[in-house]
């Protein structure tokens, strides 16, 4: 149980990453694939946060005297996640835009039927 307790965030993060990958690889509906990408992104963000997380840590702000830097969570991964979220939103928006156009052109979102080009 202590293993679960210590590594819960990593297990959750990699669980989300693998669920996302599985959805992207196994689903044929473009919208579901995009949802998979979104889950993958969330998993990675959670992973980044847990890299810098400290149990019972405080925010990295010297708000009152006597605070020790060793009791603070690492702020760098949080900055990274903020950037990664913005990038993820951009990719998601573009993907959904392309999905809308694809549906207009092909009348379907099934990736097995959208096969004009050879692989």
């Amino acid at each position: 149980m202590s293993f679960l307790h210590d590594y819960a965030y990593y297990i959750g993060a990699f669980g989300l990453i693998f669920i996302g990958l599985l959805v992207v690889l196994a689903k044929h509906n473009l919208i579901k694939v995009i949802i998979g990408l979104s889950i993958l992104d969330t998993g990675i963000n959670l992973f980044l946060i847990s890299v810098g997380y400290l149990r019972n840590g405080t925010a990295p702000i010297f708000s009152r005297p006597g605070l020790d830097a060793s009791g603070m969570v690492d702020p760098v991964p949080q900055a990274l996640v903020l950037t990664a979220i913005v990038i993820g939103v951009a990719v998601l928006a573009l993907a959904l835009g392309i999905a809308v156009r694809l549906y207009r052109e092909f009348g379907t979102l099934d990736l097995r039927k959208i096969k004009e080009l050879r692989w």
């Binding site: 990453i17 996302g20 990958l21 992207v24 473009l30 694939v33 990408l37 993958l40 992104d41 990675i44 992973f47 980044l48 890299v51 760098v76 991964p77 990274l80 950037t83 990664a84 990038i87 951009a90 990719v91 573009l94 993907a95 392309i98 999905a99 156009r101 694809l102 052109e105 092909f106 990736l111 959208i114 096969k115 004009e116 080009l117 692989w119």
Partner: protein, 489 residues
């Protein structure tokens, strides 16, 4: 001396000026990318001599490394940023006449953002910053592949986006693991501390990062998106994707393997992967009947050749690989731009429909021939000295293994020659009608093509013009300790 930060900042600022200029005059907006690329070209070329003496390190925000985001403008980064600016310059002149459909201001904004991303990747010294610039590059290229809004382009963009997003996910996971291990994102300080960590723990982030970057670099098992994306995009974008985007991906792989991890044990694996990529790319290219798909597969083959050369990791072979990279960019830009108007005039991308077009568009066709010969490696074009350098360096490495690999590389070149000669035969020696009307590409398209053609011939006749800079770029890759010292002081 100008700060290398301007190489990123000026085009980035101008990219967002394009829509504003477009409000005043849609015609004027087309010239903004030309200005930005010219600025970058001049600044990069002027900084190269300084960088050869001592790499230029710029720290953003007034912090010292490893806390600041570092820009590292060594000879390698500046050569590549000059190459990006040159390719962007000629392609954006060509685009003035070629891109006339759709929302042209959006095209020019995205085009400039793509170049900003590429320049940022080659200049940055911070691994997360590299990820961000990489995403700028990728997102703008996803959008540009779908620019025409036709069925093929949309489908290719969807495939490209899905595979690219998984690649970036792997890259970001690798970066996260690496940060957990070393507690820093600065590439120099990662390089300094990576030696003291166990090999197994370093291997996982390295594999993730290489796989993530390998998607964009189109290294063999990860290149399924490339033929569709490159053949469905507008020809200007095909030229930039093929000439710049995948090279930048390859640069990132090489930088990570050589400088950041110093992973000499990975190199033989990459040599094999390069040879495999080369053979697969060239064989697939041989089987194509669509000329743009053929060129796209040929890019995969060339990437394999460059990866092969650089991973041999001797000073001469890296210089040869970088020379091949420059040759490939110049040749592919000409090939795609020339093919752009050939397709436009003949109305089809099939090789059979190009028959007899050499009579209708002699200048464009000759430019195509020069670039094709250069890519195959015939003298006196730039491809000859670069391929010669690679083969000589690989043979000098010695051993039966490298002789076999060189033989395979030469087999790849023969296949390459075969499919290019087939196209040239179709263009010039198969007649359809007896008295074709001459209908050349417009001057705005011919001038940039001919400029690059002249450059290809000049580099082929006088390769010494750049070998000095290439050699110092090669030593920048090989001397990790020097990289670390010049960033961390």
């Amino acid at each position: 001396m100008v700060s290398p930060a301007l190489l990123v900042a000026v085009p980035l600022g101008l990219a967002f000026c394009v829509p504003l200029v477009g409000l005043a005059s849609r015609k004027a907006a087309r010239f903004v990318p030309i200005v930005a690329c010219l600025f970058n070209l001049i600044v990069s070329l002027r900084l190269i001599p300084h960088a050869i003496e001592q790499p230029i390190v710029a720290n953003m925000g007034g912090f010292t490394p490893p806390f600041s985001i570092t820009l590292f403008a060594g000879p390698l980064g500046l050569i590549l940023s000059a190459l990006i600016a040159l390719a962007g310059f000629v392609v954006s002149i060509y685009a003035v006449a070629y891109i006339d459909k759709g929302s042209t201001t959006r095209y020019h904004t995205l085009f400039l953002l793509l170049l900003v991303g590429a320049t940022g990747v080659v200049l940055t010294g911070d691994i997360f910053n590299l990820f961000v610039f990489f995403e700028i590059l990728c997102i703008s290229s996803y959008a540009l592949v779908a620019y025409l809004g036709d069925r093929g382009g949309l489908e290719a963009a969807a495939k490209y986006l899905i595979q690219g997003a998984i690649g970036s996910g792997l890259l970001l996971t690798g970066i996260g693991l690496l940060y957990g291990l070393t507690g820093t994102l600065n590439m120099a300080s990662i390089a300094a501390s990576v030696g003291s960590i166990g090999t197994v723990s370093v291997f996982v982030p390295m594999a993730l990062i290489i796989a993530g970057l390998g998607v964009e670099a189109a290294i063999f098992p990860l290149n399924a998106w490339l033929p569709d994306a490159h053949s469905s995009a507008p020809s200007t974008i095909s030229a930039i994707l093929s000439g710049i985007a995948i090279e930048v991906g390859l640069y990132a792989v090489v930088r990570v393997v050589f400088t950041m991890f110093g992973a000499s044990s990975m190199l033989l694996f990459l040599v094999f992967l390069g040879t495999l990529t080369l053979l697969v790319g060239e064989m697939c290219a041989f089987a194509q009947s669509n000329v743009k798909r053929m060129l796209a597969y040929s890019s995969i083959g060339q990437i394999g050749l460059i990866l092969f050369a650089i991973s041999i990791a001797s000073s001469a072979s890296i210089a040869g690989g970088l020379f091949q990279l420059i040759t490939h960019t110049l040749s592919k830009v000409v090939l795609f731009l020339a093919v752009g108007y050939m397709i436009y005039r003949s109305g089809s991308t099939e090789i059979s429909s190009l028959e007899g077009i050499g009579k209708r568009m002699p200048v464009t066709s000759m430019a195509f021939v020069v670039a094709a010969f250069s890519l195959v490696g015939l003298p006196p074009f730039a491809g000859f000295p670069s391929k010669f350098m690679i083969v000589r360096a690989a043979v000098a490495e010695g051993g039966a293994l490298f002789l076999v690999l060189v033989a395979l590389v030469l087999v790849g070149t023969v296949i390459e020659g075969a499919y290019f000669f087939r196209v040239i035969q179709a263009i010039f020696f198969k007649k359809r009608d007896e008295k074709p009307a001459r209908h050349e590409a417009p001057v705005a398209a011919l001038v940039p093509i001919l400029v690059v053609v002249v450059l290809i011939i000049a580099l082929g006749v006088y390769p010494d013009a750049i070998t000095g800079a290439l050699n110092s770029a090669a030593s920048e890759l090989l001397e990790r300790a020097h990289y670390v010292r010049s960033v961390l002081g």
